[in-house]
């Protein structure tokens, strides 16, 4: 009853005109961002964060969350119409979505994608409530030692699952942890790694880092690629899939919802992996796997449902434990922390209005998105005609102004540009940026938890293994590390054997 009461109260707050308007604005921008290739939700949140400082936390976070799940809706549009994924989770949609568009069924592909996204998003939100509430009750038993072990486990999962190369992900996370050390010492408050630069006394500014790593680097990369977008036209009256399309997709949508939500809950896995797994499952279970890649509607419905359900699943570790599982969730966590809110179990106790309004707004956001997306897809598709050569100077300007307005320091602008170049090089060498941002955010919390745990245990390091929950979390981390090491060594040996056979 408590959950229902809180949720209804959350709906009452989320439905106030201003909060509703912020959800609409976030959904609109999210859809546009999803449609525009080369600009992801992480970069957009990074750009918009400084401009939300004048707002209260609830409407600001409603808007930022709406951008994240709105981008998942919009991401499919470019995949289907121009064979270019608007964001990573929509890569799979190009396989069959674009083929459907070439066969004159773009409307059906866009329609089933919106319907699947809606069902995945809404059912995923119920999943979020049912999983998150018991998780919060359980994690209230956590002390500093448990938090330390949990952050270690969360970071390892992000490193092991998140990127193409574990070594590169690990490198990125370690750099992030290192950057998290810059500023004042958490125990004595003494300056640390500031090298006489007063602007670094408060640490590496989170927004400057994310704007550089995600915003500027994405712009540089996209500008280099000089994208030319030629969209397939979709008439307004051909947007609805037929009844047979919906019936054909019903199991794909159901499976996509389940796969997406549970993959989303795992830190580091996220919506991209869920869409690939869903596609694989649909192809395996289909009676006509030969049609996949040639315009099978299940190949659009399953992955699109899965990536939106994963978006709800990703909120479980974020809201319940304070552990972000993707780059965009790290942005949301950073945003909440800038507002003085610390996601995790205590947030449900100290700021229940905030949490439940946010959850309710996500339900409402999914309704807004389906209303906005089904009839307005042709209008959104018009944005693809905007030349990128005009768009990227505008994005660079917004980033620059946003960073400058933080403290009125030109230092921040230079730092952002330098980090932008670093982020661009990271992209070139396939080094993921998300572990770095997660390291920067969680590093100081990790250090504080370590310090508090050791203080409580009078310096006894065995506290991490003698406390049962902490021991289990560290045990899982150890098993993960050993498994990954074993797999890597085996792959290296197989590769070496293949090379010697070739020689």
């Amino acid at each position: 009853m408590d959950v229902l009461h809180n949720l209804l109260h959350g709906f009452a707050l989320a439905l106030t005109p201003y909060n509703l308007w912020m959800a609409v604005v976030g959904c609109f921008f999210g859809t546009i961002i999803g449609i525009l290739p080369g600009l992801g939700p992480s970069a957009t949140i990074a750009m918009l964060l400084p401009f939300t400082f004048g707002m209260s936390p609830v409407p600001a976070m409603i808007m930022l969350c709406a951008i994240v799940y709105g981008s998942k809706y919009g991401g499919s549009t470019t995949s289907i119409l121009i064979n270019v994924p608007g964001e990573n989770a929509s890569v799979v949609t190009t396989f069959d979505g674009y083929q459907m568009a070439l066969q004159g069924r773009a409307g059906a592909a866009l329609g089933i994608s919106a319907i699947g996204s809606f069902i995945g998003g809404v059912v995923g939100m119920f999943g979020l409530i049912f999983v998150c509430v018991p998780l919060v009750e359980f994690s209230l038993k956590f002390g500093p030692a448990e938090y330390f072990s949990l952050i270690i486990m969360g970071m390892l999962t992000v490193v092991f699952v998140g990127g193409k190369s574990i070594i590169k992900s690990l490198m990125s996370a370690v750099i992030g942890l290192g950057l998290g050390l810059v500023g004042s010492d958490v125990v004595q408050g003494a300056p640390r790694f500031v090298y006489g630069i007063p602007e670094l006394m408060d640490g590496v500014p989170f927004i400057v880092l994310v704007m550089g790593i995600f915003g500027i680097s994405e712009v540089l990369e996209s500008a280099e690629e000089k994208m030319k977008m030629d969209s397939i036209r979709v008439p307004f009256n051909k947007l609805w899939p037929t009844l047979s399309d919906i019936l054909q997709s019903k199991w794909a949508i159901l499976r996509g919802t389940i796969i997406g939500f549970f993959i989303g809950v795992l830190p580091g896995a996220g919506s991209t992996l869920s869409s690939f797994i869903s596609y694989g499952v649909e192809k395996t279970t289909s009676k006509h796997p030969e049609l996949f890649g040639k315009g099978a509607i299940e190949g659009v419905a399953g992955p699109e449902t899965a990536n939106n359900a994963a978006c709800s699943g990703e909120m479980v570790p974020l809201l319940g434990l304070g552990i972000p599982s993707s780059g965009s969730n790290a942005m949301l966590l950073g945003g909440m922390m800038l507002y003085g809110l610390r996601p995790g179990p205590m947030l449900f106790k100290t700021n229940p209005d905030f949490v439940w309004t946010l959850i309710a707004s996500m339900f409402i956001g999914n309704f807004i998105l389906i209303i906005m997306n089904l009839p307005m897809v042709p209008l959104f598709a018009y944005t693809l005609r905007l030349p990128y050569s005009l768009l990227y100077p505008a994005i660079l300007l917004i980033c620059t102004i946003g960073v400058y307005t933080l403290n009125d320091h030109v230092f921040d602008v230079w730092a952002m540009l330098i980090l932008g170049v670093a982020g661009y090089l990271m992209k070139k060498y396939d080094i993921p940026g998300a572990p770095m941002v997660i390291g920067l955010i969680l590093g100081p919390i990790l250090e504080q938890s370590l310090y508090r745990a050791l203080s409580l245990a009078h310096g006894d390091l065995t506290t991490f293994v003698t406390r049962p929950i902490s021991a289990v979390l560290l045990g899982i981390s150890l098993v993960m590390t050993v498994t990954v090491l074993f797999r890597t060594v085996r792959q290296v040996r197989i590769q070496a054997a293949d090379d010697s056979m070739m020689a």
Binding site: F51, A223, S389, L390, Y392, P393, A394, L396, L397, I398, I401, Y404, T405, D408, V410
Partner: protein, 59 residues
């Protein structure tokens, strides 16, 4: 930026990107530079009430 001021810097920045990097025609580059800096100035200065740095020309 403090010498030139925000508006002239943005105009110059957009002009250089479009004319030099994107090979837009000269007049079009100047026009887009003026439009973009004007739009950004109006949005951020008057709508969002952000104090943008002024240069010698007071812009």
């Amino acid at each position: 930026m403090t010498i030139l001021g925000f508006v002239p810097t943005v105009t110059l920045f957009v002009f250089v990107i479009l004319f030099v990097l994107e090979r837009y025609p000269l007049l079009k580059s100047i026009l887009y530079g003026i439009i973009m800096s004007g739009a950004v100035f109006l949005i951020f200065r008057y709508w969002l009430d952000i104090d943008l740095p002024k240069g010698l020309l007071g812009l």
